[in-house]
């Protein structure tokens, strides 16, 4: 049963991360790009910035966040590699 709960915790974390992944690239970078472009970030239009810069930075942070959180979950359920 421990493994079952461990897997549920993993899935919940993945859904959380992939939601952010989807929002920054598909929503901010493509679907709502025109609306966001009315806002400016320095010389960047915000939608354009997400499509060419922001989404990539977010992806990097997401992976490390996932790796770190999974490390904790591994320990919590006692399934970490010794």
């Amino acid at each position: 049963m421990t493994n079952n709960n461990y897997w549920k915790a993993n899935i919940a974390l993945i859904i959380k991360c992939l939601t952010i992944w989807f929002v920054v690239s598909y929503l901010f970078g493509i679907v709502f790009v025109d609306a966001l472009n009315t806002i400016k970030l320095g010389g960047y239009k915000l939608g354009f910035w997400f499509a060419q810069q922001g989404s990539i930075y977010t992806f990097v942070i997401l992976i490390f966040y996932y790796a770190k959180s999974m490390g904790k979950i591994d320990k919590e359920f006692g399934v970490d590699e010794k």
């Binding site: 421990t2 493994n3 461990y6 897997w7 993993n10 993945i14 991360c17 992939l18 992944w21 690239s25 598909y26 970078g29 493509i30 679907v31 790009v33 025109d34 472009n37 970030l41 320095g42 010389g43 960047y44 239009k45 354009f48 910035w49 499509a51 060419q52 810069q53 989404s55 990539i56 930075y57 992806f59 990097v60 997401l62 992976i63 490390f64 996932y66 790796a67 999974m70 490390g71 591994d74 359920f77 006692g78 399934v79 970490d80 590699e81 010794k82």
Partner: protein
């Protein structure tokens, strides 16, 4: 020193490094040959993965594409990075836990089926061979432009170097060489970008320079929008690629395709642990992101420099053809840049209107290579760029060759035809199949097929529509059985092939495209290159449908899935 001597010096020095590493990292066992012994540090593996992933296409072509597509080029930036998020969370850790040497091996174990393994090998070989052909061509072109030797000499030199370190070192040799190649590649990419960003905006960091003001107080991107629109081109920061739907599906296809490409997945078999596999995906993306966030700056600045070198606010002061700079003449010689004086005024007019435009050809692939010359940077910078382009092509070619060789020797030979083969013999056959793969790739390098560019769509389409769904369902659904997986893979590839072929011609023979390659005939306006995501959806749907009507998964396979889901048993 002149440019050619400097280039020989830089390229020669980098090749000496690769050969030195090959001697130092010889592979002695099959484990070292296929997965470098499974003990590579996550940061080192991340760097090697980045070099493996970033090919001549990323290094040479991508910024050029963005320079001309503007905002529409974002599909490549997001698509070729976002796949690592999927890899890190959905595939890499579990595949590492399973501990196989190759992707088809996992599919064969999980779906208890040799048929599934053979289907996976076929997808893998088509996807990888397509890619290798592109790299070989890149190697030949880079050599012929920068060393002024002919195309064939360049190609053979490249083949010999790859053969030397890949055959001798296997994954171990390739990994350490790729680390060196990454360093060379990233220096070569960022140095010109830093110079140009500083010259245009006073900010040496290209990622910030792109959002900064120029000397006259206007923002660089505003200035670029203004310049290109005045000349009748689409606004740089908003020009979409066909439609939002098409961009959405294209981005998704590239992401899923990235996560399904076997030479990338294989890299996660080389790390020590499940934890290291997760981190390694993060490091890989850090090293990729350095280049990928610089690329939009290179693109916009190259476009601006090109336009403002040729066109002036007052068209009568445009650059005169007789006064064209050296880079212009050099690229004219290659045929990739062409001028036609349509109005016979001796001045160059580069405008959006096709009838009046006198720059009849500006090949997008020359932008990155010509950029330092257009900006007037010193010769040694240009020489480094040449070495970087070669590093990008060589590192990717080596990774792909290994993926092909291991699927032949490990999956077909040992897995299906001759299970009793000894380790020593298997190692010998993997080296032989690698030499075979290099010769085939070289043959296509000498006789580049017209369809090389079109097949990249197929490589991503195959990976996205067959390999990725099969792996993901194998991990996330305990119930997925072999019938479902095989039916899913075949229908996913089938529909992707059908869509690509009906628009681009059967086996890319143009005259056989029965629907024509134009947007009114495209399904929902989706271009053939972007169809992999739809193929993947079909794969999932068919797999679950077939699964619901066929035999259950054996208990020991369910147990196996339980086992790969946890890093260590408690």
């Amino acid at each position: 020193m002149d440019l050619q001597t400097l280039t020989f010096l830089f390229v020669g020095a980098t090749f000496a490094i690769y050969i030195g590493i090959a001697f130092w990292a010889r592979a002695g066992s099959t484990s070292e040959f296929y997965v470098a012994g499974g003990g590579i540090h996550p940061v080192a593996n991340g760097m090697a993965t980045a070099a493996d992933w970033m090919s001549a296409a990323s290094f040479i072509s991508m910024a050029g594409l963005i320079a001309f597509y503007g905002y529409g080029g974002s599909v490549f930036l997001m698509g070729w990075t976002g796949g690592y998020v999927l890899l890190a969370m959905l595939l890499a850790p579990y595949l590492r836990k399973h501990g196989s040497f190759t992707v088809p091996e996992f599919i064969s174990d999980r779906y208890y089926s040799k048929t599934a393994r053979v289907v996976a090998v076929i997808c893998l070989i088509i996807a990888s061979v397509t890619y290798v052909i592109g790299q070989m061509k890149g190697i030949g072109v880079a050599f012929s432009r920068f060393l002024e030797v002919d195309y064939s000499t360049g190609l053979v030199t490249g083949m010999v170097i790859v053969a030397f370190y890949a055959v001798m070192g296997g994954m171990k040799g390739i990994t350490y060489t790729q680390i060196a190649q990454y360093v060379i590649m990233i220096i070569a990419y960022t140095i010109p970008a830093i110079f140009i960003s500083f010259m245009l905006t006073g900010n040496p960091i290209p990622q910030l320079g792109l959002g900064s003001e120029m000397a006259d107080g206007t923002y660089l991107l505003d200035k670029l929008d203004q310049v290109v629109m005045q000349l009748g081109f689409a606004e740089y920061t908003t020009q979409a690629r066909l439609s939002a739907t098409n961009m959405f599906v294209y981005t998704l296809s590239l992401m899923i395709g990235t996560a399904g490409l076997p030479h990338v997945i294989m890299r996660f078999f080389t790390v020590k642990s499940v934890k290291a596999a997760r981190e390694s995906a993060g490091w890989a993306l850090v090293f990729i992101a350095i280049l990928y966030t610089t690329a939009p700056a290179v693109a916009a600045m190259a476009r601006l420099n090109l336009m403002t070198t040729i066109d002036q606010p007052n068209a009568e002061q445009n650059l005169a053809y007789a006064d064209r700079p050296a880079w212009f003449k050099n690229w004219e010689k290659t045929g990739l840049l062409k001028f036609e004086d349509k109005n016979n005024d001796g001045l160059i007019s580069y405008v959006g209107d096709k009838k009046a435009n006198e720059m009849v050809k500006v090949d997008r692939d020359i932008m990155v290579l010509a950029n330092p010359e257009i900006a007037g940077l010193p010769n040694w910078v240009i020489a480094i760029v040449a070495a970087g382009g070669l590093a990008a092509a060589l590192s990717t070619a080596a990774g792909l060759l290994l993926a092909i060789a291991s699927s032949i020797s490990h999956d077909l030979l040992k897995g299906v035809w001759r299970p009793n083969i000894s380790e020593k013999e298997e190692l010998k056959y993997s080296r032989l199949s690698m030499i075979g793969a290099i010769l085939i790739a070289g043959y296509y390098g000498f006789n580049p097929p017209d369809f090389a560019a079109g097949t990249v769509a197929l490589a991503f389409g195959l990976a996205a529509s067959s390999i990725f769904p099969a792996l993901m369902m194998g991990i996330f659904s305990k119930k997925m059985n072999k019938e479902g997986a095989i039916a899913g893979m075949l229908s996913g590839i089938g529909i992707t092939l059908l869509y690509v072929f009906q628009h681009k011609g059967i086996m890319f023979v143009k005259s056989t495209s029965f629907l024509g390659d134009m947007d009114p005939n495209w399904f929902l306006g989706i271009e053939p290159n972007a169809f992999g995501a739809i193929g993947a959806v079909v794969n999932f749907a068919v797999a679950f449908f077939v699964m619901s009507r066929t035999a259950k998964v054996p208990a020991e396979v369910e147990q196996m899935v339980e086992n790969i889901r946890v890093p260590a048993s408690n």
